[in-house]
Symmetry: D2
Subunit: 401 residues, 4 copies
């Protein structure tokens, strides 16, 4: 029997991969094509232009690499840094942990600034380190914009301000995997040097494309960076960009057409409207959590994430049980707690192609599950709190006015 | 701009066409085929066997006609009756009205038994007429199992009991368009002579296949029925059934493969479980309506429909406004009130490929819409009432235990 | 095992259903929608305008009926004629035979003009009958534009000339199932009163939509036509056209979007270019047949069909064997000989979404099959003859210049 | 205008990406799923078992990495070798050149054995080097099984024999990108230590999955290999294999379901039958080339490739013109000549989901194109030569007997 068979639609509320819009599924429903024939270079050229918009950059150079977020990280690091280079990195959850692990394995001298899980990056500590680093040994600040494990969003504008304050030349590398196209992100304005995301997150595509965008300064750094790299080497791309054939190796034809459709939907809705929608989803979810009498894993409002909410369960409940029940009884996927917060939190992903009624269905489901596992929730309470907010804030659908 | 573009999935809650399961969409995603090559007859043969199960018949003969429910009606009538034949028909809503209109236009002598909209078929009146009809002038009882306009389900077992009581030979013709595969329906046990449904209803396929199932008595009647018919003539099908090529004209290849996938899902879930699921959906919806302080258009519990609920709005509200708002603001389609109840009711279709969280998302949406249009609903109230019931009654998903 | 599984693509060369273009398959890959919400009426409105172009009419009124070609026939006849009305109909092959059979069963007084299979409609005989019919008893000329069974195309311009010559008011009804969108057809110029086609033919869609186009004179006739009809009644459509909701019953959402995509492709290529392409396909096929030393079932060049070629096999060969072998060994579907020419001809359908190399692959396959069944063909001979012509006549692809 | 719009199907005859079977396109037509929910690990587990069969290994460990062939190369090298390690590598065409380039950039000491393009790997030279290497400085033999640029297939069995003859412990690393699942390949029997392929080649999937299979000896080597790697590190996979969750980062849900469907088709046809089919395709293509009076780029029969044929054009013709014309006029994609043979050869890819009539259509097209560009080919000659062979050798389709 096929696990995915069941009555009705599956409710996908993990923080990635996320729901794919029907027009994107349609656009990808196609045979392969010769990527050296004129169609694919022409498509690629226009995508490289359009994709810059989701990074809010005009000066950046994007690379659409057939890989995942982990590969995108590796691309960002190996193209800009040399083994032994010092980086500052913030350990605040599972994904920042994994990135730090990668940085170490790639041979960098990682200066880890750790926070309790649920807290944001300690930018004061970073400021101190930068202040002390008059010799400019620190080559890069590596920061996860949105830590998917704890639902914590870091303040990137402040990172830039601190760098500027100390006039520090370190590169500013941002993991935007669960933020770009969902949270406010401004590559040029914030002077981000490398930003990256994965296709399966807010872009609402299948997994398989890591999009990395490099500032002129990052491109310059790539000329001298000594990290060994071939598959992830930007220079191979740049050679093919110049030649107009764009691809050093075979891209996924389907993902290119899918990206085209995804961007069309995003631009039709308006990127700022997309971000506002994520803000509504995040707020509504948090109101529900509060109404249930549960705690957000995120410890301060300034770090609340609009793409994922990690909900802390009472000590006598195992959060895995909640995720299991969602799957087995209500045809819903919720995110598990990872590593330090395993069993202690479950996560509601609310990013990508999603709307109000989908979220309210999810929240209604979580209420039933909470009751299933013995937590004395008042059914309807979270939905009511979320709906009271959404009923006031949901705009008309642009295509239907 | 494409109307259907908008954030997140569209919420389809009209009583047909309904949501198509992803495996069915997949199964239909194909090129055409030669319907005279061996693949299609083999597929058709197995479908004709399997489709009998959803009618709960072993003796019936099904016809899968490339048409809609209206065409299926015409097929049922013209193959069994002759112009001038007397039929009894129940006028209880828009769809029974349309069927009666068709019967008249086809030249039958229709004895209409009318009820207020919201009431079920007046079976006492039928009993009287049958009792009086000692000459057996009445050739057929035509009854809509589930009146989609008002959400009224008629009691077919009682119709059979009355026919038997008077030992009346009239044919028993049933419109099961919004009931079969969703409500309890037993062709053989209830001695139904012709039953019919449309692919876009509880089977959860696209529109385009009217499925008509004929009892041996109906097939016998077709030999002498004098109504003019060609496209809808069962005899053309029967000739091709006998020859093993099955199709007097070209079927939709895609719908055949889609039907196969749809039936596999239904049988995997279990037809009785599917019916039980619809019962949960109906009950949950009615509990929400009650919690909102609104009235069900259906006047007695015995007629409550588990596939569609027509909700009466207060006099100062135009129900069309609710449907409009659902579409424009919440990406949801609700059913309009039709004819006599236009502007007075809106309808929630809860049939086909659907589950608990989808319905709760819909109910949460209806609450916000009610508030939008000025009805003083307590947000969360309907969801809470429905969830309290569903949290107790929702079974585990068979494929995941 | 699934019959359609096999190495490589299936080669579909029956005269319908035909290959669906990938963009059309994509367009149809979607969930159902509420056909009463604004999207479907807006789409329908634009389709009704666009579909007129394939009939080359500005004054006609199209009906897109959820049915097959057989149903479209019935719609054409019952809306314009009354039982007992005299029609002239030409028996020249299986499909004209079936239409005549339908006319008889619907109660018309059919004056059949028969030709040998392989010959076109005997228009001289028609002229005589019209000349004699000073009382105007003949109410309609019913003619199949392209007889799919024998590959015979009738000359509709001449029919009109004869009607005009005798100043005869008979309606001019045309079955364009295997011609419209592939052969030169001019509804307005030729004064056709009803023309019809099916979605699965040159439009290259799945089966399920019968498109019937009525001239003002035909619409006028429909007001007094006494044939019984409900499902096929144009008046129901006209009422809904007027109301702006367009559909008296549920259309196939998927076919509507598919038709939009199909028409876009046709208009992008240019309807006249599409017709020219069919002409090339027909010519190339006939050159191959000639090179093989086989006869075309069509007896005179003036009737040669550009959508289907019926190839006569030598007496000692059973053409069914050729079709069987194509299916079992070469993953190709060819058309069987039907009725009078069963076993004597096989048919190559070359209509719809098709290009030169597909056809040449088919012809190469037919050569191998002919050899398989013992016909002493010179391999490559037909391909060479066809290619010599195509290499001179194939234009550049518009989207790639 | 969309480049891919044009009459009829596109004819894809590049040596990758190749045509995707319709059942595989269907299987991939789906929404995302949570890869941590039970469905994906269960699917992955069964795929890891099944995928071993296409490598003909029972002892190997496969890794299905979200990357391309280039990434798969990098995975093979970095997991088994350390910087400075000596490799023997054969330069015989563009893809072996690129792999050698990668080996150098990754820091290995590459001993390049060069042949003229069109010749196979010089195994005698390898034998000499191995004989001289009594100190076992050579850590790996890196060989491209099938050089896609020139259509040259190397003899892997001989490589193994030579290694065994000298009792040399070097690892045996094979690029099987354009061979595995198409040519005879036997990982266990030939003692291959790492073999790899890409999803878009003979597996007939979209690009995006590099499949790397490691022998126990290769896995052992990975424990001490010092090449820097994170994204491509097998150890991360092995940890997740052990844990039963299988994925160190997010896989493409669609490619997993696609791979399942692709393998089902391959096993249904029978892997050896698939290989035999490729042999037929290769032979037929070469017979056509010979009939046209053109030369195969491959210089000796022992190296003839059954997945791609590089055809040498006469000096006065630019092969790019042939590829351009195929695209612009005949809706076909052929492979360009690369690097040293740019302008001198064009390539016909005949791998993956393909059958006889598709190939014959392609060959007929090439004939017309040759004529278009001024080469005096006899139309039909190549098709005749190929068909004469295919008509004798094509088996019945298993699913249709």
């Amino acid at each position: 029997m096929d696990y995915m068979n069941g009555p009705g639609r599956h409710h996908l509320f993990v923080p990635g991969p996320v729901n794919i819009p029907e027009p994107v599924i349609r656009a990808m429903n196609r045979n392969n094509e010769d990527y050296r024939a004129p169609a694919i270079p022409a498509l690629t050229k226009s995508l490289l232009e359009d994709v810059k918009k989701i990074f809010k950059t005009t000066t950046g150079t994007p690379f659409m690499i057939p890989t995942t977020g982990t590969g995108a990280w590796e691309s960002a690091l190996t193209n800009t840094l040399s083994p032994g280079d010092r980086t500052i990195s913030f350990l605040i959850g599972q994904f920042s942990l994994l990135w730090i692990d990668q940085q170490k394995r790639l041979g960098f001298d990682v200066d880890v600034i750790e926070s309790e899980w649920g807290y944001g990056a300690n930018l004061e500590a970073m400021a101190s380190k930068l202040a002390a680093d008059t010799a400019h040994k620190i080559k890069a600040i590596c920061i996860v914009h949105n830590e998917t494990a704890t639902g914590v969003t870091n303040n990137l504008a402040t990172v830039r301000k601190i760098l500027d304050h100390y006039n520090h030349p370190a590169l500013f590398l941002v993991d935007g995997v669960s933020s770009i196209c969902a949270l406010d992100f401004r590559m040029d304005e914030w002077g981000v040097d490398v930003a990256l995301t994965g296709s399966q997150k807010a872009l609402s595509l299948p997994t398989g494309m890591g999009i990395v965008c490099a500032s002129p300064k990052a491109l310059e750094a790539s000329k001298t960076a000594k990290s060994v790299r071939v598959f992830f080497d930007w220079n191979d791309y740049l050679k093919f960009y110049k030649a107009g054939s764009y691809w050093p190796y075979t891209p996924s034809i389907q993902l290119l057409y899918g990206l085209k459709a995804a961007l069309e939907l995003i631009f039709e809705e308006g990127l700022d409207n997309v971000i506002a929608r994520h803000s509504r989803m995040g707020k509504a979810t948090r109101l529900a959590v509060e109404a249930w009498g549960l705690k957000n894993c995120t410890q301060k409002e300034e770090w609340f994430s609009d793409t994922v909410t990690a909900v802390v369960v009472p000590p006598h409940i195992n959060s895995n049980q909640i995720v299991k029940r969602a799957w087995e009884r209500y045809n819903m996927s919720l995110g598990l707690g990872l590593n330090k917060v395993a069993g202690k939190v479950f996560r509601i992903g609310h990013l990508g192609h999603l709307n109000e009624l989908q979220l309210l269905g999810c929240l209604a489901g979580v209420e039933m599950i909470l009751k299933d596992v013995g937590y004395p929730v008042k059914l309807g309470s979270g939905v009511a709190a979320a709906a009271a907010y959404l009923q006031n804030s949901t705009p008309m659908i642009p295509s239907r006015i």
